[in-house]
Symmetry: C2
Subunit: 481 residues, 2 copies
């Protein structure tokens, strides 16, 4: 194979983006290299050709080349050609750098290589993100946001807050969660920088390296290294249509253990646990003295019928730690989540939060308080539920049309995800790479499971219906090959 021919592409910078053009080009080229689409050793097109093909000035390309050269990613030869020499982001440290004993020393593990790649590739302009668990930016409530932001103008100061977060926001959350049956006082609420920080706090506050966390298989938690980095074991419990199979959780174990579950609109399978199963699970755990972390990230994103009440609602003795977030309903960039638990737990988590980062931005906390207290949040939720239902219906049709004979999946009743299982064995790494080459970013199921899955997590939340169809068409094209 002639290396010179590998660096072909069909891509233009996005002139409406806030990201400067030269930067978009760097991201694009880096992503091509990172994904393997452009191989190390291959030759880049000439600067003139790049400029012409991308419709940009020569000087822009010169800037790009200088930066990529400085980063050690490309190298020019004296004949004026440019060659890819490295595909690593974390540029290798020079042999005698003062840091070379350090960078991999810490207890915190690196992200899964594929997740690192996904995190990077998400910022490739124009890529179709078929697995991204975020709302389409087009669904951002610009007008409500403007109103909410106005309330910030009257703020008199933004000093450090109480450990548990803004009192007004905690009160607003107490009112909000009452709607789906959770009764709490403001002192039982802790504001965090998203649910992820809540999980991080739990991992260092109330569990130890000798603890075990039971999770659904597959589960979102598997894609995180939080617990693993703290030395905590994860153990998988299988699910059926009604949710986790509680009786498969070991009844006795000498270790401290906890159950992590996403009962409503589960990530990544989309399953909502039945009321009956919730009851059985709650009783089983209480009987076996297994505390529960209930992750309600998708609690309110049902389509037609309200979801069953949270497990936390049955909890009279503080056995359940409930996690909420606005990342899936409004904005992950706000970094607002909350923990609802008994006061000793809240106090312990709050104390450590004060030592780790003092908690969430007050600006975000005030904005969110305004969203809740004015009813704007509720109003927005209704729009999101309607939009998700539409997109889901469309997604199901499109998947049936293009891949109907190749895959099997359940029709979701809420949330963001379809767990798409291939009927025949598909080499996932290869599929991922090929998809990137045609501008589609996938979330392979392996990130979420304990064993290889032969599945994809498809999300209908991020792409518009047109983009979704385009992405699935390209995906189907690869699979047929």
């Amino acid at each position: 194979m002639n290396k010179k021919q590998t660096c072909t592409f069909e891509w233009l910078p996005d002139r409406s983006s806030r990201i400067p053009i030269y930067r978009q080009i760097i991201l694009f080229i880096s992503a091509q290299i990172q994904s393997g689409a452009w191989e190390v050793g291959s030759q880049l097109p000439s600067q003139r050709d790049l400029a012409a093909k991308m419709g940009v000035n020569r000087s822009t390309i010169t800037t790009v080349m200088d930066e990529l050269t400085a980063d050690g990613i490309i190298e020019s030869n004296f004949k004026g050609g440019t060659r890819i020499i490295s595909n690593t982001w974390a540029l290798l440290l020079s042999e005698n750098s003062i840091w070379n004993r350090y960078v991999n020393l810490g207890s915190f593990k690196s992200n899964h290589a594929m997740i690192q790649a996904i995190n990077r590739l998400e910022f490739t302009p124009g890529i179709l993100r078929l697995g991204t668990g975020e709302l389409d930016p087009a669904l951002f409530p610009g007008e409500l946001w403007k109103k909410a932001v106005k309330s910030l103008e009257n703020i008199q100061s933004l000093n450090y807050l109480e450990a548990s977060g803004l009192y007004q926001l905690r009160c607003a959350i107490v009112q909000h969660v009452k709607k789906f049956g959770i009764l709490a006082t403001p002192d039982q609420v802790l504001i965090t920088s998203g649910s992820l920080q809540a999980l991080q706090l739990i991992s260092v506050c109330i569990l130890s390296a000798a603890s075990v966390v039971y999770t659904e298989a597959p589960t979102y938690l598997k894609s995180l290294q939080i617990f693993q980095s703290a030395g905590i074991s994860l153990e998988s419990i299988p699910m059926d249509e009604e949710g986790i199979l509680h009786h498969r959780i070991p009844g006795k174990d000498s270790r401290t253990r906890i159950l992590y579950t996403i009962p409503t609109n589960h990530n990544p399978t989309g399953i909502t646990m039945s009321q009956r199963r919730r009851q059985a699970l709650f009783e089983y755990c209480a009987g076996n003295r297994i505390p529960i972390i209930e992750d309600g990230a998708y609690e309110e994103l049902y389509f037609d019928n309200q979801s069953p009440r949270p497990i936390k609602q049955m909890d009279q003795n503080g056995n359940v730690i409930y996690l909420g977030t606005v990342s899936k309903t409004l904005s992950p960039g706000l970094r607002i989540g909350w923990v609802i638990a008994s006061e000793p737990i809240i106090n312990r988590l709050g104390d450590v939060k004060m030592q780790m980062d003092y908690g969430a931005s007050s600006a975000s906390q005030w904005i969110m308080t305004e969203f809740l207290n004015t009813g704007m949040y509720e109003q927005h939720l209704e729009q999101i539920r309607a939009a998700m239902k539409n997109r889901c219906d469309h997604a199901v049709r499109v998947l049936r049309q293009y891949l109907g004979d190749q895959v099997s999946f359940r029709t979701p009743t809420g949330g963001f995800y379809i767990w798409l299982r291939f009927n025949r064995k598909i080499p996932m790494q290869k599929l991922f790479e090929e998809a990137v080459k045609v501008g589609v970013l996938l979330n392979p199921g392996d990130i979420y499971d304990y064993a290889p899955t032969n599945a994809l997590r498809i999300s209908y939340s991020y792409l518009s219906c047109e983009e979704f169809e385009e992405a699935v068409e390209r995906l189907a094209g690869i699979i047929k090959r």
Copy 2:
């Protein structure tokens, strides 16, 4: 002593506060108990007397009593009296709670008891915070803030950001730090939720339980459990007028080690390291292959003469990790800090940040970008510098006047702090408690040092000149007794 007489007070709720009255009362009573001013076992005044003395409705007091009773802090007897029965915040878990094996299990240590008490007491309405390392809310730039917040209105969406943070903010920071001699590219910048998160990331990414961190004695770091919780040892290095005594750092050691220093307007001593010492320290560390964390939290808060250039400025090989924050100049509530380091370090920290909480609020990041790009931040900094100089001059006069013969201290040239050493031995815990009784909150030096210090960290940043004088007068009163 008649217990009935211990629960006296001179305090009124603050009607201009955003905190509801009943909550202020709970905080006040709790603080009295927590500080020991009101002892466990003692009798509270009757509800009628409390209402009358605080100028509030009986019904407000009833709400307060109900909440304190539910929390197990007070207990009514059948004669209608009310007794204090517990002084612990983290209410003890009931004997057979599901959590009792858990709450103290995690690797993360609890905050120092005195720091926990300070964190709580800071929210007592009306208390004079003589040691708080924050700007007076009155110095918050309300008008500039309004302008900066306006820029948020046009935001189109707030999704998850790149691991290293908002690109536009990183560019703005690159421009900003150039002003004091630090040259960096946007890829060498990581946005964090304040410097504290940067320290947290360092503790789990590039150090291990077998590492050692050298610090000045005393140091801000001592007041945090971040490194200690990760099992990392802290070792103290003495200082003189010019800063840390570099030659006291062990030349050889088989452990991985790093130096943490606050060269400019040091917390808590106020010392700024001389140019000569910076050079010597940098060379000593490079020679002994000891990387440096340079904490620049107070970098720009000089009074008359610009501070010496940061150590980072001498650094050609990426040996120095530089930390910045806007917490001491603009607002801690924004939770915006930054790390400047070589790319492999930034990538490693960014990868773990993505697993811990996805980083700082985008709302905060956009606000800060606007502050920097419009020049508003620079303009505000000048005001803060002038205000701090005034307050410092005043503080020095007041301390000389009221305590001149009892203490010794250095006159600061920037920053927030005066390290006040008592000439004769003072029982610090007792002083702290007595001060709380007269409405003054102190930061005893012991929190910051490796050995008992007989010193206080006085801060002139938080109180107005009048309040400062009032607080020092009360303090002097106690000391004379």
